[in-house]
Every structure is written in C-alpha cells, then in structure tokens.
Amino acid sequence: MDLYLTALLQGLCLSGIALGIYISMKIFNIPDITTDGSYTLGGAVTGMLLSNHLQVGIVLPVVIVAGGLAGVCTGLIHTKLKINPLLSGILVMTGLYSINLSIMGRSNIPLLNYKTLFDSFHFIADLNRNSLMVLLLIALLLILLIGYILKSDYGITMRASGNSEKMVSALGVNIDRIKIVGLGFANALTAVSGFLMTQFQGFADINMGIGIVIVGLGSVIIADTFINWMNINSIWTSLVLVCMGAILFQLVLAFTLSIGIDPTLLKLITALFVLSIVSLPRLTLMRRN
C-alpha cells in the first residue's frame, strides 16, 4: 500500500502544475510551455535557499515570486511583442535553463541533510502519513486560494476573457494585463509544485522539468473528461478534479511499475491505461445510445 501512498503524495506535489495549467489552458486557451522552466525554477530556488540553511517559510514566498515573474515574462512577450504564446513560452523556458543553472551553481543539489517542509511539521510519527497531511493541507490551501480568486470579480473577468476576448475588451477591460497576471498566477503555482517536489524527492535537478508540462496537460484533460461527463459547473469541484487528475496520473504510473512489465514498454502501457480511463465515459455513452 505504501507504493500507492507515495504515488498519491507525488500526485499532490504535482497538483500545483495541474492547477497552473488549468488556468493557462482552460481559462486562457494558452498551452503554456513556460511550465517546464518555472517548475525547475521553483526547484532550483528551493534547493539553493534550503542548502543555504534558510527556513521553509522564507523559501516559499521567494519561489512564488520567482515563478510568478517567469509567467509575467511570458505574458509580456506574448501580449506586448505580439509573439505567439507557444513561442513566448518556449523562449522563456529555454532562457530559464541557464538561469536555473546559475541559481543552483551546479546541476544537482541533494537536500539530504537540510530541514525540509516535511521535517518542519509533525502531525503524526509515520513519515509518509505526515507528508500526506502536509501536502493535503497545501493542496487544500491552493484550491481555496485559486477558487477564491476565480470566484472574485477579477476572476470572473479572467474567465470571461478566456471565453470571449473581444467582448471583454469591448467592456473596457485591459485584456493584456489580465493575461499577464493570469500567466503569472499559473507559473507561480507551477513553481510551488517544483518547491514541493524538490523536497519530496530530496534533490533539485536541472533536468527535473523536462516534459513536465505533459503531466500538467494530461491531468487537466483527464479532469476535463470527468467535468464534461458529469456536467460539472462548479469551480470548486473542477479544481478538485484537476488535482485528482494529477494524482490519477501518478497512481497509474505506480500501478504500471508494480505489475512488472518490460521496462521498454513502460511509457506505452502508462499511456494505454490513461487512454482507457479517459475513454471510459465515451464507451458507456455509446452503449447507452
């Protein structure tokens, strides 16, 4: 059972990315590649600050600001220089590689002997269960925060601008600013994922972000399947489902690892499992017709 518990923990760590991608992808219709860079950025800042004996309480705000800045850069490049959002993301992500490397000073910072987030709180003695409590608490806080923002007037404008940019700008709203702030939020969330994951896996690595945007997109689309299938309109439920999507992804991976298939087929089998989960609603609908 321990394996699935740790997969659950890993999923919770990655739920920040899922929420970030949910904002950029579902609300702004921008597939934000900056994610690869800002996730590593979160990890790099965490690794660097923790290994310099700073408190977790100081590290987190720095991570959030750093990630937010990365997103703002993408937003500025996209809106002010009128560059395709995909390219803006790719450019910022590419640039962040060097920035991350210089933040870390080396390619890999192990955090074996430093006090991490999971050592800072002691709810129960069992290490994994304690981590679960901490992560659940953080995921809950993230959902509450994002939910609150999306429900506020500003959030409603954000969502509306994703649905119909022209209408919202006709109402006199500065679309550019909304996009920049939104991407800032999204990447701050992603950086928080990097922050959590670095402490969970115990090291920051320059390559940790490569392809991570796929995990986020996967989670959001899994969640989207369920949102459409169950006709969910509530923001809160959607956000919870997005986090569940991230967790499901990791559970599937854990399952594929545990059944002991040929390592060459690992990724194929993982993909097939995810496919079978998201196609389930389709199959049941077909039967009903």
């Binding site: 321990d2 699935y4 074996l112 320059i206 599937v252």
Partner: protein, 323 residues
Amino acid sequence: MIAKYIYPTYLILFLFLIGCKPSDSSIPTIGFVDAFEDATISQAHDGFMDALKSQGFSEEDNTLKVLYRNAQGDIPTLTQIVNYFVSEKVALIGTSTTLSTITAIQRAKNIPIFMMVSPEPVRMDVLDERGKAPENLFGVSESLAYIDTAFALIPEFIKPKGDKIVVGMVYNQSEPQSQDALQRVKALADKLNVVVEAVPINSSADAQLVTQSLLNRGIDVFFANPDNTVFASFETILKNCNQYNVPIFTSEAGLVQRGAVAAFGADIYQWGYQAGEQAAEFLKKGDAAGLTIELVKLRKRVYNPEAAKHYNLNFPESFEMIE
C-alpha cells in the same frame, strides 16, 4: 446518477487489488534501477547480474528475484521506482548512474544501496555534517583520477599541428561530474603542454552543432569525457570527427567499442561486476558489516584496431584490442 461513478470505482479497486499481490519470501528480492536507456550504461546492469550469478544468485536457478525498472529519463518515475522497491521491501537496491543513486539514498533509508557508474559521495554532495556518506550506501564509485590517466594518453600518441596540441571536448552542464572533469582536464592541460577547447552541451540534440563548432576551431584531437550526453550522441560526434580526420580519445572502454581510438579507464561492465560481487557478499552474509564504498579496481588500456589503422596510430602491447 450513481451508475456513472461505478466504473471508475471498479477500475480503481482493480488497480489496487492487482497491486497488492503477495510475494514469495523464501528467495531474496532485489531491485535494480536505471535512470535512462543507454547501450553503454546498460552494461553495468549486465555486469551486476553476471556477478550475482557467478556467486549463485540468479533468476534462472530460482535463487533470486530481480525487479528491474528503468525510469527512461523521467525524474518523477525515478522517484516512484525507488518508492516501489521500498514498498516491496527488497533486500538491496542496485543503482546505476548518479541520479539513480541520489534518488535511492533519499527515499530508501534502511535498504542497502549498491551504486555503480556514480562518482564518490563527496562529488554527489551527499555527505552529512560530519563528512560521512549515508550509512546504507555501498557499491563502487570512481574518483576523478580516471581523467588523469585517460587524458595523459593524448600527448603520447598525437603530434600537434601547431605549437601545442589542441584538444576539443564537450561537457554537460547538467551533470556535476562532467563539470568536475572539465576542471580537472583544464588543470592537467597546463602540465601536459596542451590547449583545451571546451564547449557546453546540454542535450544530445545539440551534438551536431556543438561538434561542428569545435571542429571548425581546428582541434587536433577530441577527448570524449564520458557523460550522459556523450554516451547518447557518440555516433554523431564520431561521424563529424571522422570527416575532419580528428581522432577521439576517451576514458571508457564501451566508447572505444563504438569507434573511439583508445581509452585508459573504467570498463562499465566491470564496474557493474564489482558492485555485483559486493552485493552477492551482502546477500550471503545477510548484513552489511565490513562492506564499504569501493573504488573502481580495474582500469584498462584499450584501443580500437580499425580506428587506430585509420589514423596510423600504433599501440604497444599493454593495450588490449577491442572489436
């Protein structure tokens, strides 16, 4: 309405039930994790298994159960693999390459870890405040001394076109030991009357461009420092160097097999074998008393006859031929 939720619930229950199958505990179970796919690196796994087999532990004879997993370059997968080994309560974990070793140290505190193809703990930065490596870390590591021996081969066999031999090399910014190797090479270069032209490379996709830019600087010889990018893109480097008639020297026998001229250094297969022997000792005794982190014992001088002929280089008998 409820029917909607039934299928996912079944599916999840199914996943959990299969995942919880009981295991046969009479024979030892070990885990082995590779961080990525690579033809040369995977020889460490072969060596490890062969060593265990020669000591009477093999899957064919039903005296050992091996859980082999490969993360295929994905770090979250790597963490999950180690978690899986921990939850399966394996007797020991074999880790190949630095990243696997670091992940294993971090997640498995009570299971002995036998590393290979990894640098010394101090290079991985995993020492505690008292300067000690983690208590459950064993296996075989390599110091930077291999660079001295391998790099010193170059002036023995290569004549410079100008005043000094110009050695081209690529290094991977994302690997600590690759960066350390570069520092070592630069320090050596002054003593050996050699100039080093080093260019960073971060992914195997850049290999073509980076190698070309090095070759355009008129290097006499290419020193292939074995890091993950070089392993992954060696054929690209080789093809370009051959076009410019630039021989490749390295420190790893596997790369000589793939077309480098000569090497003096560790053999990845033997490296795995040495770690495997240590693991077998642990399995026999059942406790880790007396085991320490060893250094690579066997360094070989090897050369590739075809490449040597192409560049008109003659190697003495102390060099072993590799085909």
